[in-house]
């Protein structure tokens, strides 16, 4: 499903974000990537969504080689990869409903069928009663859940979350991880970046630890 083979990433200026990283995540697996700030967690997740390309080595996602993909194929890969951002990246001039509708709109869904799916996704994250609210009217935790609803509405096979619980208190963080676990139980491959390695133990998930861009054994 996700396979890194001897992947390195050097940014212009010489900073090496990833060094010789090799791992494979099977379909339906749930894994955590942990490491200190700047260890390369975000870069690793971005490569899976083809936001960054490797400087050397190969990244294969759903059978497609990220480094060798044509520009026109990238959007179709991304439709199959749900992204949850630490800063949510919500559109503030659209309601909660419209924010979640956006991926379906892009994929060309029938509006009626789309609306049904949007409500199902909002229901899953517990925001069904806030569908008409604008993101500014939502709390930090609610914004994060809205971002999750947007990531899952297109029923992707892979869900990537970059520090999804970063700004949340412990209870809230627990709820969010519970949610990811339930998605994993219906077969979604999940990769979560977090600075805190204890979560993986708590959720009995696989843990990849990055240290200055290299994968610790």
């Amino acid at each position: 499903m996700i396979s890194f083979s001897q992947v390195s990433k050097r940014f212009p200026g010489g900073f090496e974000a990833l060094r010789d990283v090799t791992f494979t995540i099977e379909a339906g697996e749930m894994a955590f990537v942990s490491g200190h700030s700047g260890a390369g967690k975000s870069t690793l997740l971005k490569m899976i969504a083809a936001i960054e390309t490797p400087s050397s080595g190969s990244v294969v996602v759903n059978g497609q080689n990220i480094g060798k993909m044509s520009r026109t194929a990238v959007p179709y890969l991304r439709r199959n990869v749900g992204l949850v951002f630490q800063d949510h990246k919500l559109l503030f001039n659209r309601t909660a409903f419209e924010n979640v509708m956006l991926p379906l709109h892009i994929a060309g869904f029938d509006p009626t069928e789309g609306a049904r799916r949007v409500r199902a996704a909002l229901d899953k994250v517990g925001l069904l009663n806030r569908e008409k609210a604008f993101p500014v009217a939502l709390s930090g935790g609610e914004q994060q859940r809205l971002c999750i609803a947007r990531a899952i509405v297109n029923r992707p096979s892979i869900l990537l979350a970059d520090e999804p619980t970063g700004n949340l208190d412990a209870n809230y963080a627990h709820d969010i991880l519970e949610m990811f676990k339930s998605f994993n139980q219906v077969g979604v491959t999940i990769l979560i970046a977090t600075p805190d390695p204890t979560a993986a133990r708590e959720w009995k998930a696989r843990l990849l630890t990055l240290n200055h861009g290299a994968l610790a054994a």
Partner: protein, 302 residues
């Protein structure tokens, strides 16, 4: 196909909502486009009117055959028969020397002078109208007629025809150059408004790309924006021309009354209007396309 239609409808709806959100700015931009379109469009329409006016005032250019004084009535009949056989002669009129004298007395009011003449100094003449309207074929016909027997001279107000043609040619070229220059301005104006649109929609574009939007999907609303803006500019330009002509017609009416014929400026034909609107929409689309091409890659997610 269905998806494609949905996408296009949504892009158009999005643009209309944008227009509705900033009505004043949108209207002003369209007005600027309209002004730059109305100049060549108005001049073009005016030029067509000048053309009409010229042929109305002068009639079609005609050739006058001055017959030799030795031409008797059988020679005249012979010439008439020959003239009627020409395929490119539309109309032949004979004016005998007596008729000529009468017309001179009546029309021009030279009665007192002609009354003093001992004998009629006028020749018999034929006036001939060509089926052609361009100076070249008329001149060719004139040369042919000149060669007929018993014809002293075939006179053509050639200078007039050529002058008009040259003048109209000049006008047409001026309109063309103006249209190109202002068309370029229109592309730049549209490109700039679309650039501002892209900048203000930065977040939206970035997020859309992150969740799987293709380039055509991202581009589409901006192309609609440009084309629609150009189209509305074209409609406004037509309105400007129509209003201007309406205002001018008051004076044109008074002026032509003084010259004792009636003439009013006529508005561009439906084909010309359709051309104007398509031209506006196409240039708007082009401006948007160039601008989106330049700026869209700057908004790459990272």
């Amino acid at each position: 196909m269905r998806i494609w239609l949905i996408h296009h409808r949504q892009a158009a709806a999005l643009v209309l909502r944008q227009f509705a959100r900033t009505p004043v700015a949108t209207f002003l931009t369209m007005l600027v486009i309209a002004v730059s379109l109305s100049l060549p469009a108005g001049l073009y329409a005016l030029l067509k009117n000048v053309n009409d006016l010229a042929s109305l005032a002068h009639g079609e250019p005609q050739i006058t055959l001055v017959l030799a004084s030795s031409a008797n009535s059988s020679a005249i009949d012979d010439i008439r028969a020959r003239l009627q056989k020409y395929a490119d002669i539309a109309e032949v009129r004979f004016i005998s020397r007596e008729q000529g004298l009468q017309e001179l007395n009546k029309d021009v009011g030279l009665g007192e002078i002609t009354a003093g003449l001992e004998k009629n100094p006028l020749p018999d003449i034929f006036t001939v109208r060509s089926t052609h309207h361009d100076a070249e074929s008329i001149v060719r016909l004139q040369k042919e007629l000149q060669a007929l027997p018993k014809v002293d001279a075939a006179l053509l107000d050639e200078a007039w025809a050529k002058r008009l043609e040259a003048l109209l040619g000049l006008g047409q070229k001026a309109v063309l150059i103006l249209a190109i220059l202002l068309g370029f301005a229109l592309v730049v104006i549209t490109g700039n408004t679309v650039r501002l649109q892209i900048l203000s929609a930065r977040d939206e574009i970035e997020v859309s790309k992150l969740i799987g939007a293709t380039d055509p999907f991202v581009r589409r609303p901006f192309l609609y924006h440009g084309a629609l803006q150009g189209l509305c500019g074209g409609i406004l330009a037509w309105a400007i021309v129509a209003i201007t002509f309406h205002l001018l017609n008051d004076n044109v009416g008074k002026l032509t009354d003084l010259y004792s014929f009636s003439f009013l400026l006529t508005l561009p034909s439906t084909t010309d209007i359709a051309g104007l609107l398509i031209f506006g929409a196409l240039l708007g689309w082009l401006g948007a396309y160039l601008s989106v091409g330049r700026h869209l890659r700057e908004v790459e997610p990272h």
